[in-house]
Amino acid sequence: MKFFGNKCESCQLTRVEGLTPLGDATRNYDFIIALAGNPNTGKSTLFNALTGLQQHTGNWPGKTVARKEGGFKFGGKIYKIIDLPGTYSLMAHSEDEEITRNYLFFEKPDVTVIVADATRLERNLNLILQILAITDKAVLALNMIDEAEKKGIHIDERHLSRLLGIPVVKTNARMRFGLEALLQTIEQVATGKIKTRPLRLRFSSPELQRALKQIDKELKKILPGLKNREWIALRLLAGDKFIEESLRHPGRFYGIQTAPGIEDAVERLLQSVKRIRIENQDRFYDIITENIYETARRIIDETLITGKERIHSPLEVKLDRIITHKIYGFIIMFLMLGFVLWLTIKGANYPSQLLGDLLIGKIYPALKTLAGQMHLPGWLAGMLIDGVYLTTAWVVSVMLPPMAIFFPLFTLLEDFGFLSRIAFNLDKIYKKSGAHGKQALTMTMGFGCNAAAVVSTRIIDSPRERLLAIITNNFSLCNGRWPGQILLATIFIGAMVPEKWSGLAAMLAVTTIATLGIFMSFAGSWFLSKTLLRGEPSAFYLELPPYRIPQIRKTLYTSFIERTLIVLWRAIVFAAPAGLVIWLVANTHIGGESLAAYIVDFLDKPAAWLGLNGIILLAFIIGIPANEIIIPAVLMLTILLFDIDLTGVQKGMLTELSDTQSVKQILTAGGWTLLTAVNYMLLSLLHNPCSTTIYTIYKETKSIKWTAIATFFPLLIGIIILFLITVIYSLTAGAV
């Protein structure tokens, strides 16, 4: 596949001479620079290269939805750098654009680094020209230059620089090519060694010219010291309330001293702007954008050294034909999911065993012995070893390996550009469900982490469809839930077929559950858009990025390490305390019965209706903070309540402690059947989000009502489905 991307993923990254990444330490900086640009142009990649941070990058537009800060040192100066969310424009009435616009316009970074995709320069120029209208000091990083050259797009950057009035540097942020030149240029612009004279917008439309002239004249009269008058006039014509408000307080926003009585003059001006807008049927946005694109076209004509440039490489066209094929398209999607799962199952098997052998087979008994020798009181030893240690050990041995394998694989698909094709393929179904096509993107994001996915729903403009995406996101099995699915599928369903097929059977079972989740995200959206969130789907547009060969090793390595650290950290934060709690409830006795036994007894009744047992329900409650501790909690509670001795000393029940068989023995001893396992898998798909996600939903929606709905809607569905399955099962099996 040498047609596109970097054919050599093992190449050494270019070292950037003189650069010291400072991570997120950003105090005492000399200069502050902001990265702005269209989505998916490599801003975050550049940000990471400079700061050494690991801000997520992904090959689809909208990956970065929040602003991120970091720092680096270059040429003896310290820079604070801000990664702004990507936008297509600075003019639209949407929140993300407002943030970027106000930041660049009012807070004025020392240098604005505009990151552009060299392969899509014409479209990028729309934003570039708008940014130049409001900033004095800017540098253009003509990124993805490797891809551009491969596509036969050659740009005369000197001429481009002359036309735009700012320095232009060709870069390849991924391979860190050109970054040194970029940094030097930034430094020279920041210190004033290079003087920039940004191209200001020119408009050919007579009605716009007239309107601008009139407003400009009045602005000059009312607020003589005001800069960027033309831009302000443009904003007024577009009906920008923030700019209108800013004019009412020129002192606060522009630092201009004004004479009394200015308020009336400003009000009069605003009134006359409104009249102009009505006369032109409020179509200035069209006119302005058209004019900007005219300028962009001229610039392209002058700077593009035409060769045989093309938008899509032949290989990309071929791939797209297959991946979005009427029939193969969907098959490939499922094969892909199945393949990732299969790799996870196979890949996690060995490390799981190893970790289990070590942590539970060897260290656990050793700790027990040690506690005996040290004459620790029984309750203390129990609390620490049977509670805290064992739960943590289970999280690490059973949950960590699949999580640390699945996530990096998923990241690869994302980097490749596959996710946006999934959104493209699934959009029609989402449309029929009354939802937004980008929900496919947030849905797949949910396979990694629901909380992160809820934040990423910001890429959906329409509030109604965004809520749909938020509420149904929990139907995407998150990283914390995959391992439980895989484990149960392996020991209960994989075991029903001959050994050599068991991996495949388990994979199919988990794929089925995940597919059910995808189906639920359609069905749930459909249901909600007929009831609580009535409405028709709004507009949808999705930019399809080119395929990019992921930097396989780097991606796998960094996301593997990152995932492992996160899971380990969560193990300490969530699993250890949960272990303590579990041990305490299991060992606090009231009238001869342990507290856990009381709770479990109490929960057994409703649980039986759902084909589960009380322990599972209790574990789901304990697991609210983090889904990955549910399985360990089930195991712990089962052991404690059924008095199973793990060290095999007293009852000798368990021969092999480490592998999945021991888990199966524990569960079978706890009364688990195939029905229990299936219902567990379903409940794990269909229950309330974890507390982090719930909190995120609240932060994103700022509504208790919608947070509650998002919390209970999936749970309610889960309960109904489990109940139905249990009834049908008991009817067909003839017994309760």
């Binding site: 403009d461 329409s462 949808f540």
Partner: protein, 296 residues
């Protein structure tokens, strides 16, 4: 919801009707006994006054009528921009809600919506002071056979609802530019690459305004009708695209004179990915329908 007396509703509808007739420089003559009775009552309230055989709104009456129109149009704008409720339902819902909405809610929405000037149909929204602009128009069925030229639909009467829905289904809504070809007592309309015939009862609902367009309009088709691999040049975005959607499409490069080509159709035939200005953007049919191009 607060229960509203039938009287209030009738009264407000009458005021609206009177204003509409008056802005067309016609005389408002009540139709039927009950309307006449109501009109007399409004005269006594100082909202109407008698004038050579008909009625005219007083200044106060005008302000009050404009306030109701304001509610109606802001509510439709709200539905269009914020809820995604079907275009067919906007008017009906607004017809009902306009009598129930209070000033404070309306003002709040107006602010949230960024003080829109026109509603989704292109009708101006009166400001809080009650000023309303008028758009000159003529009913389609009143056009003379000689006037075979381009018209822009400025308004669709939404009653009877059944006929209104039929028109929407045919793709006729405010903002669409049509060419009218006469055919005895049928109206043959050419627009966006389609040619349809509509009967008198439908023509009666459509108000149009003459517009000057360039000859390219003769060959205008919808972007959605292009096949894979075909190319087009954008001539205009329909007025039915408004708000953020319109802004986004413009920003993505769907501006006048831009060249678009069809790159790829999704497995279920929708959405379609278009190459535009060096990038690839997927659109649903609803949006691609409203981007009007000539085939290259």
């Amino acid at each position: 919801m607060r229960r509203i007396g039938k009287y209030k509703i009738n009264r407000e509808n009458l005021l609206k009707k009177a204003l509409k007739i008056q802005t067309e420089h016609k005389k408002f003559v009540p139709a039927g006994r009950s309307e006449k009775k109501l009109a007399e009552r409004l005269v006594s309230e100082g909202l109407l006054r008698k004038e050579n055989g008909g009625y005219r709104l007083t200044e106060r009456g005008k302000t009050e009528a404009a306030a109701i129109i304001r509610k109606h149009r802001l509510y439709e704008t709200y539905l269009a921009k914020r809820t995604g409720i079907d275009i067919k339902d906007w008017h009906r819902l607004a017809e009902n809600r306009e009598h129930h909405l209070d000033e404070a809610t309306i003002n709040k929405w107006e602010k949230e919506l960024g003080f829109p000037l026109v509603d989704p149909h292109g009708d101006p929204i009166p400001d809080a002071g009650g000023q309303v602009e008028v758009i000159e128009s003529i009913l389609l069925n009143e056009l003379k056979p000689r006037q075979a030229t381009f018209y822009k639909i400025v308004h669709l009467e939404d009653e009877p609802e059944e006929i209104y829905n039929r028109l929407i289904d045919k793709g006729l809504y405010p903002g669409v530019i049509i060419r009218v070809i006469f055919n005895k007592d049928k109206w043959q309309l050419a627009f966006e690459g389609l040619e349809i015939e509509i009967p008198e009862e439908e023509a009666r609902l459509i108000s149009v305004k003459k517009v000057a367009v360039d000859p390219a309009y003769f060959n205008l088709i919808r972007l959605s009708s292009l096949k894979e691999g075909e190319k087009g040049k954008i001539i205009r975005l329909s007025d039915a695209l408004f708000g953020l959607t319109r802004q986004r499409l413009l920003d993505l490069g769907f501006v006048r004179n831009a060249i678009v080509s069809v790159y790829l159709k999704a497995p279920l035939r929708e959405p379609v990915a278009y190459d535009i200005k060096g990038s690839t953007v997927a659109l649903r049919k609803e949006q691609a329908d409203k981007i009007l191009v000539i085939k290259l």
